[in-house]
Symmetry: C2
Subunit: 195 residues, 2 copies
Amino acid sequence: MRKSNKHTKIIEAAITVFAKKGFFSARISDIAKEAQVADGTIYLYFNNKYDILISLFEEEIGKIILEIKLLLENATDPREMLHIFALHHMQLMAEHKELAEVLQMELRQSNKFMKEYRNTKFIEYVDVVSAIIHKGQEEGVFRQSLLPGVFKRAFFGALDETSRLWILSPDHHYTIDETASQISDIFITGIMAKG
Amino acid sequence: MRKSNKHTKIIEAAITVFAKKGFFSARISDIAKEAQVADGTIYLYFNNKYDILISLFEEEIGKIILEIKLLLENATDPREMLHIFALHHMQLMAEHKELAEVLQMELRQSNKFMKEYRNTKFIEYVDVVSAIIHKGQEEGVFRQSLLPGVFKRAFFGALDETSRLWILSPDHHYTIDETASQISDIFITGIMAKG
DNA sequence: GACTAAAAAATGAACAAGCATTCATAAACT
DNA sequence: AGTTTATGAATGCTTGTTCATTTTTTAGTC
């Protein structure tokens, strides 16, 4: 067995192919070719095409969650934590464009064609934000009237859409850091407690 | 010819079917059955399956743009305009859940499988927001440092993701009005000029 | 109004292509 | 020699699209 096993090679190939064509237009043979294995080999590591996508979600989002939680350990101020989350999210998407495209495109429609699949990993990721809001409210830094459940989605949605734009547009008028700061600034200023 | 023509019936059926199954899992025969026409009839009104989706986008977003522009004519304060946009967007999505699902799911991946298609209608919609920001900056109500091109996406992304959550979750903890106010409040407070 | 012929609209069974999945066979390890 | 891993051609199902045929509408004539 090679150092980099086939499972990983196939997942990486799938990211590339799904990013380019989208899940449904992607053929198993495309992924096989990209991973430099035979079509049949894929079925030794995954049950079916859906299973590749699900494994991809679980593994990649799992890594992202570990990273962001580790980064947040160094911060205590909820405002700083929000900024770290924003910056890290944008940087991650910018550095891994193919993964970003797959997550942004396929994640939200995955529950359409895979009825039984609940994406708990994604929920876990977004809940990092609501935890920060909660902490900020307890410390009196953020307004009590804020609904953490609404905020987490609004914040994530803003980051998601902005990073999507950044990836798609060929000429970047602004840097990742500028964009992330712009967004976390708006949100942090917008939710601070009076005084 | 009936009062409601076949073109409209097919578009409406497509919204229902695409919302339930997603574009790729939806069969032409599903749409035909929902529209109460024969499979072949669809090809008298649309060139192919993609064409149904594109027509759906153009026509429905077109209507939405007309509506929001009309509503905004009554307002002059940029802050109020932002709130009107947020509230109207949320209300629209909540009242037309199926359309919302199709737009939220298929819109962003449409450029994946339809390479030649540029969604100008969508861009026009989001540009309504950047126009408001521009106006606010000219009047000195909003910070000059704001990047309207970033803001419009962040604002839209927040609304999009929040309305998506609202539609998906069966039990609504908050009303549409609460949610829209929450978001426009955060953004407006976050972007006001000092003093 | 009734009848008719030409045009337009609608039908749905049949076709053909695409592609996920399988499995008999081969290659690579142990 | 046996076991594991990999191959890729063949299979079979799914489904978008077509088109020969039928139904409906329109327009003209008496």
